[in-house]
């Protein structure tokens, strides 16, 4: 592991300044794509992929260590994360030979993928999705609408979940299908969020036709095809836990450096956040240790997700409170935008209500409603 991280440090020490010199404005889309290509050439963004696909065949623990080092260098996140982390593993596992050709193109940004899952009528209850794909000869004809599609505006391809058997039970009769974004009948519109950002899109399908060969995995098995690879993300919450703990440490350090002391009540509130984040960090560390021991994480990821989302939201509210008038006048714009953005913490990737249902139903075995 140490040799690996030393290699990574050497790589970043060389490549990051070179990239920074080339792109004075690192926020440019082209700059970010260029950084992703650099990371892919070094086989660092794709380190968990098997070697035959251009990866290093590493495990979760190594990947987390890699991400830690990357975070320390303060380099940008790669923009094609969803393709690299979610889509490519699915294609490697379930894709046809033709489909697997996308894997290398995902790494080097020749292709940019999004996932078409949520719908206006299927948010928390994802499996109730209604976008239809009807087989007509050797083509799927797709009609419907997707929403909250991350990076929808920048994508070349979508991994679509559509209903192919309307008579089957809710979780059955769904298929995963490759849809090039430039297919006629497909329209992408950005969704503007309350913080002014627009990382998500709505996608409309009107008689969109793609070959039946674009099916990923078996027909009507799209739910399992997709959920299997979603599992890859699970370990990520442990990393989130550690990062939130660090964030709260940094916040407290900033507060202690202020000239005017904060109210004892806020001080206590910060200590409360600190206690919860320390405990969350311990849970995260123990979950990672389990993964390192080769034990599959169980209910921990749900608990960490629940605690993380509520605590991180509270912390942004506290920061806003600390900013006082500067928060509402925009003189402390970080507090303001952090506060607004944090409203999604208890909604995105499963609302807190849903996470509590999952713990109640699956972990505690309580009767379903």
């Amino acid at each position: 592991m140490e040799a690996l991280l030393a290699e990574l440090r050497e790589f970043l020490t060389k490549e990051f300044p070179a990239w920074s010199a080339k792109w004075p404005d690192g926020e440019l889309w082209e700059a970010k794509l260029d950084w992703q290509r650099t990371m892919a050439e070094g086989r660092w963004s794709t380190a968990t992929w098997p070697q035959e696909f251009g990866g290093r065949g590493l495990g979760t623990m190594e990947m987390l260590a890699i991400e830690d080092v990357v975070a320390q260098f303060g380099v940008p996140q790669i923009p094609g994360m969803i393709g690299v982390k979610n889509v490519a593993p699915t294609l490697m596992r379930f894709g046809t030979e033709e489909q697997r050709k996308s894997v290398a193109r995902i790494a080097n940004t020749d292709e940019f993928w999004c996932q078409g899952f949520s719908e206006p009528g299927a948010g928390s209850d994802l499996a109730s999705l209604r976008t239809r794909a009807v087989i007509d000869g050797d083509e799927f004809v797709i009609n419907g609408q997707k929403v909250w599609t991350s990076n929808g505006m920048y994508s070349t391809h979508m991994q679509l979940l559509a209903r192919t058997d309307p008579d089957a039970p809710k979780h059955k009769g769904i298929s995963a299908i490759v849809v090039p974004i430039n297919t006629p009948g497909l329209e992408v519109r950005p969704i503007k969020q309350i913080n002014g950002g627009a990382e998500f899109a709505e996608v409309f399908f009107t008689d969109v036709r793609v070959p039946v060969a674009n099916l990923i995995g078996p027909l009507n098995e799209g739910w399992n095809v997709t959920m299997t690879t979603l599992g890859h993300e699970r370990a990520g919450v442990a990393v989130f836990a550690g990062r939130l703990e660090q964030r709260i440490r940094n916040l407290i350090e900033d507060v202690t450096k202020q000239d005017s002391p904060v109210s004892p009540v806020i001080s206590d509130q910060l200590a409360e956040h600190y206690v919860e984040s320390r405990v969350l960090g311990m849970m995260g560390a123990q979950m990672l240790a389990k993964i390192a021991d080769g034990v599959a994480p169980g209910s921990e990821s749900s608990v960490i997700k629940m605690v993380w989302s509520e605590l991180s939201q509270q912390v942004d509210t506290t920061i806003m409170q600390l900013s006082g008038v500067e928060g509402i006048t925009g003189d402390d714009n970080d507090a303001k935008s952090g506060y607004l953005s944090a409203r999604s913490a208890t909604i995105a990737a499963g609302t807190s209500d849903i996470v509590k249902n999952i713990i109640g139903d699956r972990v505690l075995g309580l009767p379903r409603d």
């Binding site: 969020q193 309350i194 806003m320 409170q321 008038v325 500067e326 925009g330 807190s352």
Partner: protein
Amino acid sequence: MNISTTTSSERADFRASLRNFFEDISPESRVREVIASGSGLDETVWRGLATDLGVSGLLIPEEFGGQGMSMAEMAIALEEASRAIAVVPLLATSVLAPLAIQLAGDTAANAELLPVLADGSEIMTVAFLDGAGVGTVARDENGWSIYGSKTAVLNANVANRLLVIATTPTGTGLFLVDAKASGVVVTPQNSLDLTRPTSLVTFEGAAATRIGAEYSEASQVLNAFGRIAVSAEMLGMSEKLMEVSVEYAKTRVQFGKPIGAFQAIKHRCSEMFAHVESMRAAVEAASLVDPSDKAVLHEQALVVKAYSARFAPWIAEATIQVHGGIGFTWEHCAHLYLRRVKTDEILFGDALACRFQLQQLLGLSA
């Protein structure tokens, strides 16, 4: 102040006419247009409030062209205007400005300034919050001059004249400054609230007219009225958000039933209702206090603000939670309210600050 109070049934009629007015001419689509225009003022609504409904003059005695009413009526106007998140300087120009002037007890100033406020012909605002690390001082240099800066000055971008609370050599004074005067710079801020732009106003020896004499006690009373006023605003917005949430909970179906059938959502809505009813009781009680009883006014204003500033933001946040992803979009109304509620939360002291003052009243704090 020469005020009279209407009966509760008259107030109900007044509320109904205001509700109709805002629904007609200030629907959300109109609010979004005005926001997008960047003007920070819906002229049509403002004219209507002044001329058709007499709201601008509610707190101004009849002898100066106003209605001579109390906070009980103004609270209703604030509730309804905020329910509609109307883009008008109601709080600054029709509540704070006339009260600030009248609290100074300066006959000449009353005669000069109240009539143009009553008929809505002039927009004034009160600058009461010192800029970060900078006080605002008034010096008598052959006539008064103001130095320093004020932050979060409501609607300063559309105001003709500013009422500035500044430190004098002997205490505190209220000063009138022309917004276009030399030495006055109004810099719009990147305000959280999109319906009520704030500005940083800097004064570099701006010429000012003093209104009345020592103002420190008046300033405390103005703060109390301010607390009641923003609480009324938060009440109006909270009620609207509760209704929007309940409506959504009745119609949005997930897992085969309307989400309002799930206890997590149902109980959140019930808690919203309890907080709205509580705020309503508190705003009503506080707005009916006899303003000459300053100790009671001060205490009630702190109580209603401490309550509203704690729970109205919770309601706005819970509205987004009830709506899920759609509540997080720019197109949904929730964030427009959240932004204005959070601003009201901070103005005149947040819940913690109000509780701290209450501790002092209760003898709990050293």
